[in-house]
Amino acid sequence: MPKVTYVDYAGNAQEVDVPVGENVMHGALYHGVEGIVGECGGGLSCATCHCYIDDAWTQKVGGPSSDIEAELLEAAAAEVKPTSRLSCQIEMTDALDGLVVHMPESQY
């Protein structure tokens, strides 16, 4: 099963299995990874699953998948960078096995 590494603001990394087809936000929630809140559950209405894609992965993952994601990112609590994504909008594929995402200091 593909793996995702979540790195928190302090630099601590946690690697978890995320099945193909599941999204990176749920991968964190179902494994108790702190730092991704995902309060709306993937409905593109809250921007609390904000993450930064590791530089090595930005090309493969790509930018926001819709205008709505881009609009919501503008309202995210932490600094928005070119590598910012909402993790609920990143669906796992075999090609993303090994993905590394960094979590902001706060989601609120």
């Binding site: 559950g41 993937g42 409905g43 209405s45 921007a47 709505i68 609009e71 919501l72």
Partner: protein, 415 residues
């Protein structure tokens, strides 16, 4: 103090009701009798009333009401903060439905604060995720069309009874794995519990619900299926099966949360569209924007509130509140906060995306939100395909009744 969900005890803090029970720490200048959910001005037009609260009341005031005294919060910003800080604004004991003190249970997961809350959400979230609910799409379309078949040739219908009520209840029963022939019974229990404003009637309804659901759970334990009642009855997070109290509290809460809210939402939206043919036309012309349409209609026509209890003394906007005080975030009013949604009563499908509070925010965000969005979307699509324009039947009198879920009583449409 984290509670033990397997060994529930009734909350110890008091309920205050009426002017003679206003705690001493509440400044007299912040005491109001706003009439929210009960007064004649509210009942004449609840959403207009809630939008006007921003002009008539301070952002935080202490409301004295026959339904209980509590702080009301109106600002979008304050709701985001409060609802995202469960260590200050706790859910434990904040749900107003009466229960037998000798057979007490918690409503799960809404009355469970973090960190225990996530354990329960993980059981059901896959079913209610955006992807999970998409599996129901065809079935919801079919149920919508079956209902429309029943009245389209008449050229009119009583919307709430013939569409608004049966659609979400049928869908809910499908998901839960409960029989469709219970539909009307379920609806009447929910109406008594949520709309009667009479604690004796609420208690009786709760009793009927309890007996039925306990039998249903026992049946699913013996005969598992792929419905949500069975899923919960057989759940074992970290290898530990849920206790009977947890299973019951979970199933019972989904019953309460799932039956009445989409009903009221559909009623609000169809009443609005019947009176705003230009918006109906716009929806027809922009089929690709249906998700934006749904989101804006949910903002404009939110139906309920979020109640919390302060778990510590806390000050906001200079207002000093005390541990044990009850707080209600007036979610529809927050959705009308002019600082976030300019010209808030205007329905504008092109508003910039901002967090709406229709489904609240924080860890207790509505788990049924994606299902609700899908139901509203499909109902709009299927209805407008077959009944492209419609209006209120002449002479229809619109009435709202007091209650915690806001929508119009019966109304008839013609086409």
């Amino acid at each position: 103090m984290p509670i033990d969900a397997a060994n529930p005890v009734p909350p110890a803090f008091p309920r205050h009701v009426g002017m003679d029970q206003v705690p001493d720490h509440v400044p007299p200048e912040l005491i109001r009798q706003s009439g929210l959910t009960v007064g004649p001005e509210f009942l004449a037009g609840p959403h207009d009333f809630m939008a006007a609260l921003h002009e008539k009341q301070p952002p935080i005031y202490y409301d004295v009401s026959p339904m209980g005294n509590m702080w009301h919060m109106l600002k979008h910003e304050d709701a985001l903060f409060g609802l995202r800080h469960p260590e200050i604004f706790s859910n434990e004991g904040a749900t107003p439905f009466p229960r037998d003190p000798d057979d007490y249970f918690y409503f799960i997961p809404i009355e469970i604060d973090p960190p225990h809350h996530r354990k329960y959400r993980n059981i059901v979230d896959p079913v209610f995720s955006p992807k999970g609910v998409l599996k129901l799409e065809e079935q919801i379309r079919r149920r919508s069309n079956d209902l429309i078949d029943g009245f389209i040739d008449k050229g009119e219908c009583e919307f709430t009874e013939e569409f608004g009520r049966p659609l979400p209840v049928s869908v809910f029963l499908d998901i839960m794995g409960l029989p469709q022939d219970m539909r009307d019974t379920f609806v009447s229990w929910a109406m008594q519990l949520l709309h009667s404003n009479d604690r004796a009637i609420m208690g009786q309804a709760m009793q009927s619900i309890t007996v039925y659901l306990k039998e249903a759970i026992a049946e699913k334990k013996a005969n598992p299926d792929d419905g949500v009642v069975s899923l919960i009855a057989h759940a074992a997070p970290d290898g530990v099966p849920l206790s009977d109290k947890e299973i019951f509290g979970f199933v019972c809460f989904l019953f309460i949360g799932g039956l009445d809210t989409v009903f009221a939402t559909l009623n609000n939206i169809w009443l609005y569209l019947a009176q705003n043919p230009d918006k109906v036309q716009e929806i027809h012309e922009r089929p690709q924007d249906i998700d934006k349409v749904v989101e804006e209609l949910l903002r404009r026509w939110s139906v309920t509130f979020s109640g919390r209890v302060l778990d510590q003394d806390y000050e906001m906007r200079g207002v000093k509140m005390k541990k044990g005080d009850r707080v209600t975030f007036i979610l529809p009013a927050c959705n009308f906060d002019p600082e976030v949604f300019p010209n808030p009563l205007e329905v504008d499908f092109d508003r910039p995306r901002r967090t709406i509070l229709a489904f609240t925010v924080g860890v207790h965000s509505c788990m049924g939100a994606h299902l609700a969005r899908l139901e509203v979307k499909i109902a709009l699509q299927e209805w407008l395909k077959r009944i492209p324009s419609f209006k209120l039947k002449p002479g229809t009198h619109i009435e709202y009744r007091p209650g915690g879920v806001i929508g119009p009583e019966n109304f008839s449409l013609v086409w």
